[in-house]
């Protein structure tokens, strides 16, 4: 599809995330792999940091060219502005399109506890809806992937429905031809 850019809605990037926007260079060198996307073509939305794990394998996301819109910034300036900032690096003329990756642990842990790596706080369903809807309506949007949701950690089976609703609500309606 020729997508060269990606917007990620991550709680935080992890080296073991196969879909991480770009693994730390040290990790990439260690296993011989190279990033598939340039740092400058990536935006990270909803990032929230915790003191003891804010660095991943010696490299910090803020030391890269990745555009970071963290959770406090989303809260301070609103979802619409977060969308605008995130679209900046991925809608440049030399970028053919972008892909949206949603790790559901970007959502508030009280709302989406069925994740392997839990931390308090995160986006509300409403915030996530507004952000994802804004991103996916942009002309360069090519698709959405949803990961991290672990139904085994949802014994009551109550979380797939709101997640399905979120996806349904953010995918743009078919255009009239």
């Amino acid at each position: 599809m020729g997508c060269r850019a990606r917007i990620a809605c991550y709680e935080r990037p992890r080296a073991q995330d196969i879909a991480a926007p770009e693994p730390p260079r040290s990790a990439a060198r260690r296993d011989g792999l190279r990033p598939l996307v340039r740092d400058e073509d990536v935006a990270l939305v909803g990032y929230r940091a915790f003191g003891d794990n804010d660095h991943v394998l010696e490299e910090h996301i803020r030391d890269t060219a990745v555009t970071v819109i963290d959770l406090p910034e989303v809260r301070e300036y609103g979802a619409a502005r977060a969308v605008g900032k995130a679209l900046g690096p991925v809608t440049r003329p030399d970028v053919e399109g972008f892909w949206v990756h949603l790790d559901v642990d970007v959502l508030d842990d009280d709302l989406m506890p069925a994740v392997d790596y839990r931390h308090p706080g995160g986006l509300t369903w409403e915030e996530a809806t507004e952000i994802l809807r804004g991103l996916l309506r942009a002309s360069g949007a090519r698709g959405l992937e949803v990961s991290i949701f672990n139904p085994r950690l949802d014994p009551g089976g109550s979380l797939a429905q709101p997640l399905s609703d979120l996806i349904t609500n953010v995918v743009p309606a078919s255009r009239i031809r």
Binding site: Q16, D31, S139, A141, R142, G143, N150, V171
Partner: protein
């Protein structure tokens, strides 16, 4: 679960389930496509007016721990 456009910008979409727990700490994420399908995701997309092509699920990838030094 992946939703990709085959007529960008996302006016018509294809849905692909990827039942994999690659990169996770434990098994379970591979069940996500099934859970979302059971929740009626594809039907909801259609009911909401989206033009959807359901491309099914990829083969299940069984979770297993990654040995040190191996490539995932």
């Amino acid at each position: 679960m992946t939703l990709g456009a085959y007529d960008p910008p996302m006016s018509r979409i294809s849905v692909v389930g990827v039942p994999s727990s690659a990169g996770s700490y434990a098994a379970g994420q591979d069940q996500a496509p099934g859970a979302l399908r059971s929740a009626g995701l594809v039907e909801a997309l259609v009911a909401a007016g989206r033009e959807v092509r359901d491309d099914g699920d990829l083969p299940v990838q069984v979770w297993r721990p990654v040995r040190a030094g191996s490539r995932r």
